[in-house]
């Protein structure tokens, strides 16, 4: 039968596919009928179109000049490719009086994202571990509160948290912001880690207990080494969430720590006469590039991580 893969390639657009053409995985036996394959690949290809369309529009638009954009068709490829919008978005788009584009906030975003991700994951993994293996009276109640907390709109919590941070004397500092990210990442992360640790064979834990290992020893020597996949999942979720955050970054810090999303918002929302869609799109892609990169690199581990953790509850 014909190679079903080539069909999918023609349907879904070649460029997105080409990178993986190299390695069709040979281990599977070809049992199925080609009709079935057409259905499978056809459906996937159509779905892929829906997911790729916006990215395509973003990229194409960001490479056009404004006169070309005004002509209309957003799906048409650029006649004349220009990288000016990218340069402008990165280095010279204005917000009020500051005309240094997104570059201003990039390192701030890095400075916020790295410690927030590390600390929130460290705490959530310990929570999950305690909830899975060391239940104590009331631990489930706290966990339930935490899960309900996942449903509270962020905006409502602004004032109480401003008050708490003010009383602690860390309002406006990076520490304060890291704590806020840790708090709001906690419900989902704890849930993930708890499910993961529950799914690990109980015998491991029991054997370690019999050997006299305590809370921290088991966590560090047995649990941690086994949990790479779930750490990857947590990392991806947190990097995405924290990198894309606008509200906390702007409410709980001062301008010298403002993350990249603040500039993105300013570029996208401050209109200088005509909306410069090409610059908006370039800024959008630039801002999204860090989490996108993380996804491309660790996407495979992502599924494996959840597969390892979330199946048995």
């Amino acid at each position: 039968m014909a190679n079903p893969g080539s069909l999918a390639v023609t349907v879904a657009g070649a460029d997105a596919m080409s990178d993986s053409l190299a390695g069709p995985r040979g281990r599977r036996p070809q049992r199925s009928l080609s009709g079935r394959n057409i259905m499978i690949y056809g459906t996937l290809a159509i779905a892929a179109l829906y997911y790729l369309l916006p990215l395509y529009v973003m990229v194409v638009t960001s490479l056009k000049g404004m006169p070309e954009i005004r002509l209309g068709n957003i799906f048409a490829p650029p006649v004349e490719i220009t990288f000016e919008p990218w340069a402008k978005a990165w280095a010279s788009a204005c917000t009020g009086l500051n005309c240094d584009g997104l570059s201003r906030g990039f390192w701030n975003s890095v400075r916020i994202t790295i410690p927030s991700t590390v600390i929130s994951i460290a705490i959530a993994s310990i929570n999950g571990y305690a909830l899975a293996n060391w239940r104590f009276k009331g631990s489930e109640i706290f966990f339930t509160i935490l899960i309900v907390g996942a449903f509270i709109p962020y905006q409502v919590m602004i004032y109480p948290i401003v008050i708490v941070l003010r009383e602690m004397g860390i309002y406006g500092t990076l520490t304060g912001l890291i704590i806020v990210h840790t708090i709001f990442g906690m419900p989902i992360l704890t849930l993930l880690f708890r499910n993961y640790f529950v799914s690990l064979p109980e015998e491991l834990f029991k054997a370690a207990r019999i050997d006299g290992a305590g809370f921290w020893t088991i966590y560090l020597k047995i649990m941690l080494p086994m949990s790479l996949p779930i750490f990857v999942v947590a990392m991806i979720l947190q990097i995405t969430g924290i990198w894309n955050d606008f509200l906390f970054g702007v409410v709980f810090t001062r301008p010298e720590y403002y993350p990249m999303t603040v500039q993105l918002n300013n570029i996208v929302n401050s209109v200088q006469g005509v909306k410069e869609y090409n610059v908006n799109m370039a800024a959008t892609i630039l801002t999204g590039s860090v989490p996108l990169f993380v996804y491309f690199v660790s996407g495979r581990l992502f599924v494996r991580g959840i597969a390892a953790g979330a199946v048995k509850g």
């Binding site: 918002n265 300013n266 401050s270």
Partner: protein, 410 residues
């Protein structure tokens, strides 16, 4: 030994005034990020930097709704900025009452604000319990109809001189593929437009009865029904606008895609930036060409109470810089608004601004709805008119709901 002490004291006394004059960074937050606005605020920054201090710009785009929670959190969280924009009126009242804002009375007395600021009601908006807490920087009036001369030429009709002619010209514009009246999708634009109809078509006494006295009979009466009928016309004329931001709607007028727009005088900054000339490229009708009254809302700067002595002094410098005649002219020309002091020379002003200045000189000035109504009532009004302008709600129903909102005002 004594010599050393003396030197130290001498040094200190010399250093102290020096350090005050030396560059102090002052962070200023505002939401002026559109083209004309940014150009205008740059004038402030330039003037302030010229005093030897440094303006650290903290612009937050996305209108007051996005910026205000950030500002309020910063102030209540104990990490305030050096100065911040608010619309004057009742927005910052509670921050002042909570003792978080700096009293500017000393600066105001020294610089004789009471005498130079015109109209005097402007300073009332800054005064709480006899103390002055903000520096008004401009007068913005809402009551303008901006018209594209090109659009009317293209449609082959005479450019209208008042609201009724405008309504009458609408079918011709539509036939030429032009949206008669551009209204951006954001709620505040619909609500602001309605207030313009109230004051311009209803007149001064009517406006005051509605928003100041909140007189139920007037609000439910036939005159009000007439205003709602006009709003219904405006709604019909705005079909096909399909933009969100006010300056995108202004841009439709600039490019001749729309016949006109009812928008405050800040729209003028956009015309200017696009290189259009008042009188030839576009026309303006204050008070919709009917009742030439303007309201004097506007922007003001508030100064949070700071512990740092050097910064407090810089705040005083900034406050006086903002009201400096030269800064006032430079800023307001770019912003398209009117200066808050009557003693400045505005020869550079264009036709439309001069019309505004005339009205101001005649004293045809009223308090804006920002001052007469609380933010809460304003928001409910916005919700109502946002719904009205995008649905087929009947004018009668809208009037009923309007009446109940105003009746709940405190």
């Amino acid at each position: 030994m004594t010599l050393r002490i003396w030197t130290a004291i001498m040094a200190a006394s010399v250093v102290l005034p020096l350090s005050a004059a030396k560059a102090t960074d002052l962070e200023v937050t505002h939401w002026w990020t559109s083209g004309g606005e940014a150009a205008a605020v740059a004038e402030f920054a330039k003037a302030f930097d010229a005093t030897g201090n440094k303006w650290i710009d903290g612009a937050i785009a996305g209108s007051g709704g996005t910026a205000r929670p950030i500002m309020v959190s910063r102030i209540t969280g104990g990490d305030p900025m050096g100065a911040t924009q608010f619309n004057h009126g009742r927005q910052a009242e509670e921050l002042v009452q909570a003792g978080l804002m700096r009293d500017l009375t000393d600066v105001a007395t020294k610089e004789k604000w009471k005498e130079i600021i015109r109209p005097a009601t402007l300073l009332d908006g800054c005064t709480i319990d006899g103390k002055i807490y903000c520096a008004p920087v401009n007068i913005h009036s809402w009551q303008w109809l901006w018209l594209s001369n090109d659009a009317f030429k293209k449609a082959g009709v005479e450019a209208p001189k008042n609201w009724d002619e405008f309504v009458a010209a609408a079918p011709a514009l539509e036939k030429a593929g032009i949206v008669p009246l551009a209204i951006g999708g954001q709620a505040w634009q619909a609500s602001g437009l309605f207030d313009v109809l109230v004051i311009s078509l209803g007149g001064k006494d009517f406006y005051e009865k509605v928003y100041s006295a909140k007189d139920a009979d007037t609000i439910n009466g036939p005159d009000m029904a007439r205003i709602f009928k006009a709003a219904d016309d405006a709604r019909r004329m705005s079909k096909g606008t399909n933009v969100q931001d006010w300056n995108q709607a202004t841009n439709m007028v600039i490019t001749g895609k729309a016949g006109g727009q009812i928008m405050g005088d800040w729209a003028q900054g956009e015309f200017q930036l696009a290189g259009k000339k008042a009188g030839t490229d576009y026309a303006c009708l204050p008070g919709l060409g009917v009742n030439e009254y303007i309201t004097t809302g506007g922007d003001a700067f508030y100064f949070p109470l700071l512990k740092d002595e050097a910064k407090s002094q810089a705040q005083a410098v900034l406050a006086s810089t903002l009201l400096n005649p030269k800064t006032q002219v430079a800023f307001n020309l770019k912003k398209g608004s009117l200066p808050v002091r009557g003693d400045v020379d505005l020869n550079a002003a264009n036709d439309c601004m001069k019309k505004g200045l005339d009205i101001l000189a005649k004293g045809n000035v009223l308090k804006s709805t920002d001052e007469l109504l609380s933010a809460d009532i304003q928001k409910q009004k916005e919700d109502l008119f946002a719904e009205f302008f995008s649905s087929s709600m009947s004018p009668q129903d809208a009037q009923k709901r309007f009446a109940s909102i105003i009746a709940s005002a405190d």
